[in-house]
Symmetry: C2
Subunit: 214 residues, 2 copies
Amino acid sequence: MSKVRAFPTVSLDGFMAGPDQSEENPLGVGGEELHDWMVKLEVWKKAHGGEGGETNESSQVVEEMTENVGAGLMGRKMFGPIGGGDWGDGSWKGWWGDDPPYHTPVFVVTHHEREPLEMEGGTTFHFVTDGLESALERAREAAGEKDIAVHGGASIIRQLLAAGHLDELALSVAPRLLGSGERPLDELGANPPHLELERTIAGPDATHMKYRVR
Amino acid sequence: MSKVRAFPTVSLDGFMAGPDQSEENPLGVGGEELHDWMVKLEVWKKAHGGEGGETNESSQVVEEMTENVGAGLMGRKMFGPIGGGDWGDGSWKGWWGDDPPYHTPVFVVTHHEREPLEMEGGTTFHFVTDGLESALERAREAAGEKDIAVHGGASIIRQLLAAGHLDELALSVAPRLLGSGERPLDELGANPPHLELERTIAGPDATHMKYRVR
């Protein structure tokens, strides 16, 4: 069965990104350090064209992120700082260089139309202007039997969870406090979905909990 | 070295208590269920005058809560629903019956004066009306070489953390979403304290992370 999965890293106070996001600081103040546990790993470096790195309990978590993924879903703010008004000269192609680490179609929810953007390595960004539900539907078609990876940001995870569309939530908790920023688990209303704890992995630099969402 | 320690159980969205706290529902809607992982344990039942119960990975966490504790600190709302205006007829003696599970002096931060309340089993509630710092100071004196346990609620943990008074934070995360309520890790400002992950315990019904606060 195809599943809709999100796997955010959050601070201990629940923030996925810190305050004051900008092109220089895409995850806001302190946000990038949330991923210290991940970027030091061999499995992450390899996937991003690097070498070296270590292997520890957290490696499995990074492997699971890309396993059996047939399509991705992403908010406009995660795709880039450009696009609030329009797409400018069209030169912005995401944060990830010519060969993004997704290797699937990725549906970007935005208010502004743009032609699909075919990158190297199998990643194509599709820009969906008629809402999150529509983007999810297109991602389901593209994924087929495979899973849909929700790459973020916080707002899109929150919306999918509140609407009952998320099947699996794999949370990595970094040992940091950010003080403010954006929380994926916030404002979930009076009847938030039920969770079932599937497994916990105690990494040396982060704690990883995987929940089934009911 | 005497440490100031807090060990709240929170929902995955960070709430220590749900909305609509009342005398019937002291932890708010959904709040009591956060502690399902704990109240089923033999170590918890024994400490609260009960029998039976199970032993699992989480038992150690409950044991650590009371180990080497010489004094407690508590907010007025955690002591009881009475006291917003005054102490009424003085018949309110906390939620815990004649023999509360603390067995130490416990300093309750309140705006309203009241004589110390000596309970069975070594627990005495002292009511401190000149602020949290003063209550902490009195708890330090009472604890001596032993630790100070911060029993809650959310507001008092938040204040101690923001002011740099907390030495250890042992968080238990229950597999639940509450949607709203009170968060101990919230509004920590632009320079929140640094954390160091000391250990993780993967309980069957909750995940337990212990951090040293710097």
